[in-house]
Amino acid sequence: MRRWWFVILFSVMVSTLPAEAQVRRIVVYSALPDLETSLINREFTRRTGIAVEALSVAAAGTLAARIRAEKDRPRADIFVGGSADFHAPLAREGLLQPYRSPVAREARIPPAFVDRDGYWHGWYLGILSILVNTERWDREMAPRRVPKPATWDDLLRPEFRGHFIMPSPVTTGAGYIFVAGQIFRLGEDRAWAYLRELNRNVAQYTPTAPGTITLLERGEAIVAMMWAHEAIGARRLRFQPLEVIVPPDTAFEIGAVSILRGAPNPEGARAYVDFLLTRTPQDINARYGFRYPVRADVDPPAGAPPFESVKFVRYDREWAIANAERVRERWSREIGR
C-alpha cells in the first residue's frame, strides 16, 4: 500500500517539474523557423544575459490567436515574425504596447518599415515571387518550348493547368497578400477576373504557407507562388531544384516585432526589439533564412536579387488590413477551395 503513495507522489512531482524559474528572462512567441529563432535568441542571451524562452510556431496566425486568448494575463513579452499584417490588428485591439527604438533612428531604417504609432518594428522583408521546380520544368515544359513565367500574367498560361500551387488566401498571410497585391495591381474587378482565371491552373491552395514549398520540392507541382526566401533556403540548404523569379508589380511583407501590453518583462522586451534592429540578428536571418534585412548595412541574402532592384506594386497596407475579411470571404465564395 505504501508503495502506491510513493508512485503517486513521484508522478505528481515529475509532472510538475517547472521550467527553470529565472528572474531575468523574456518569453518570445516566434513565427520564424526554429533554426533562426534559436540562433538569434542565443545571441541575444549572450549579449544581454537575459534568457529567452521561445515558442516557435511556423504560423503567425496561431500566435496572434494565442495572444488574443491570453489578453487578460499575457504570458509572452514579444511577438516576433510574421508580417506586420498580423501585428497591426493586434495593435488596433489594444494588445500591444508602443515603443520607439532608438536603434531604428540610428540605423536610419526607412519609416515605411516601422509602424507610425510605434506598435511594431519591421526588421526583415520578404518578397512574393514565382517559383519553378527546375527538374520537372526541364523534363516537361522545356521540350515544349514554354517560356518560363516572368510576370504574374504569365501564370495564366494554359500549359500550367494543374501544375500551379500557392498558399491559401484564406488561411495564410502569404496567400492573402498575393490576392491583395493583385487588387492593387489591377483594381478590384480585373483582379477578381485574374484570380478566377488563375484558379483554373491551381492544383492546390496549400493550407499552410511552407506547405507550398514542400510540395514544390517533392515535385507535386511545377510552378508556384511563395516567398522568395523560402525557396532560396530550400535550394541552398536542402539542395532542392527550385528557381526564384521575381516578377514586376510584386508585393512584399514586412516581418515585424512587437511588445505585448502587460508583458511580464517590458524592459527585457524593449531590449529585444533594440537587439533585432542591430546587425547581427538581421545578418543571421539573411544568412540562414534568406530574408531581406531592413538595415542597409547588412548584406542581402545570397542568391537573391537586391531589394532596390525589385519593382513593387503600390501596396496600401492599411487598406489591405482593413478589408481582409471581406476579401477573404469573397474569395471563398467565388473561388473557394
Binding site: V7, L55, T62, R73, S168, P207, Q240
Partner: protein
Amino acid sequence: MVTARIGRAWVSREGRRLLADPGLTLAFLLGAGALALFVLYPTVRVLVYPGLEDYLAIPRSVRWMQAARNSLLSTVLATTTAVLVGLAFAFATTRPDVPGRAFFRSVALLPLFAPPFMVAFSYILLFGRQGLVTRHLLGLDVNIFGPQGLWMVQTVAFFPLAMLVIAGVLESVNPSLEQAARNLGADEWQVVRTVTLALARPGIAGAALVVAISVLADFGNAVVIAGGWPLLATEAWFRMEGMADLRGASLVVALLMVPTTALFVVERYWVGRRRYTTVTGRGSRLERPPTHPVLKGVTFAVCAVMSALVLLVYLGVLAGAFTAVWGRDWSFTLEHWHLASDRAATLWASLRVAAGAGLVTAVAGILLAFLTGRALPLRRVLDFLAVLPGALPGVFVGVGYVLAFNRPPLELVGTPWVLVLALAFWHLPLGYQAAVAQLQQVDRSIEEAAANLGARGLHVLRDVYLPLLARAFVEGFSVSFVRAVTNVSIAVFLVSPGNVVATFAILNMIGNGIWGGAAALTTMLLLVTFAALGLARALAGRVVRPLPGG
C-alpha cells in the same frame, strides 16, 4: 427547475446517506466538481463563445459547407473500408485455423501506438510523387495528397479500433452455437453467415460508429495529407493559424461536435444495448468449427496486405530518419539524429505531460466509477459527464480549454497544467469505463461485510476496492499515457514555451519540410513511448500480480 431537482436529490434517501458520511461527501464534491470544471465548463464555453448570428451564418459560408461535405464523404469512405479490414482481422484472430493469427494481431495493434500524423507522413515518403515505392520502385507519378491519400491513410490508421471491437464480439459468440448450426445442417459458410456474423452485427455497427467518430475528428493525418481539401477538423486549426480567428475556430469545432456527439449517443444508448449475450454453458467448451477455405484465403490475403501496409508505416519513417535528403540523396546519414536530439527536451516534455495526464485519468476514473456505482444523487449526470469527452473531437477540447482557462480565477493557459488536464479529461472515459468494469466484478456482499464490520464509506474504498482497482489504475494510466504522448489535436492549441511536446515539434518540422529531422524525432518518440509504457507495466505487474483474479 434544475435547482429544484438538485434540491430534491439532496433531500432524498440517497442524499441523506451521502450527507451522513463526510468522507463520501468530500469524494462526491471532488468528483462532481472536477467534472463540472474540466468537462462541462470548457464545452459550454466553446458553444457560447460565438454569437447566435455567427451560428446562423454557417450555412452561408461556402468554405465551411464544403468542409462539412468533405468531412462527411471522407468519414463514410474511410469508415467503410476500416470496418471491413477490421472485420477481416477480427475474423482471422478469432478463428483457430487461420495461419499467422498472433502475427496479425500484434501488427494490427501497431497503428494505435503511432502519433496520428505518422501514417500520413510515412505514406508521403513511400507513396507520394517522390515516394520510394511509387516513384523509385514502380516509376509511377502518383499524387497522394487530397481525398484519395486521406482515405488510404485513415483506413490504415483506424482499422485497429474496428478490429478490437469486432474481435471482442466475435470472441463472445459461444462456439456451441456455431457447432449447433453445423449439426443442424449448415455448412461452414452458412454457419458464418447465419450465426457468427448475425450475432456480431451489433458489434460491427458499434465498431463503425466508433471509427466514424475518430475519422471525423482526425486532425493529425488530415493536416498532413489532405492537401487543400478543406475538412472540419483541420479548419479550426487553420482559422487560428492563418487568420488568428478564435471565433471562427469555435464555430467550426462546434459544428464538428454535432455529428460526433450524435454518433456517440447512437452507439452508447442504442447499439451498445443490443449486444447479444450468449450464455457460456457448463461442460467442456467446444472448439470453433473449421472455416470455409475460400473465406480463410480471402481473410488471410486481406490481413497480409494490410499488415504489410502497417509495417511500411514504421519502415518508412525509419528509412526517412537515416536518409540524407529523401528523394534526392539516398545516402545514409546520422545528421537528422543530431537535429532530433537537439529537440530532446520535447521528448521529456511529452513524457511529463503524459505521465501527469495518465495519473489524473486513472485516479479520476476510479473515483468516479466508485461514486457512480453507489446510490448517490446525480449519479446519472456524473456518468454522462464522465463519458461525454468520448464524443468530443480533440480540436474541440483544445479550443475549449483555451477559452475556459485563459483568465482568472483559473488561469491555466500558458502553464503545463492546462495541457495535462485537457488530455487527462479527454481520456477520462477510457479510465472511467475500465474502472467501472473492474468494480462490477466486486461482489456487493464483500462491501456489505466491510460495512457491517464498521468501515465507513471512504474506508470501504480504501480497504476493499483500492487493492482490487490496481488493475483498473494500470489500465487507465496506460491508455491515457499512450494517447497523451501521441496527441496532436489538443497539443497544438495548448503547448506553451518550456512545455513544447514532441508531437508539436514534429508537426512543425513536417510543415517546414524538414522531413529527416521529423522522421528521426518520431522514431525517438516511439522508442521512448514503448520504453516508458513497458516500465510502467513492469512496475504495475509487481503490484497487480499478487492479487487474485488479476
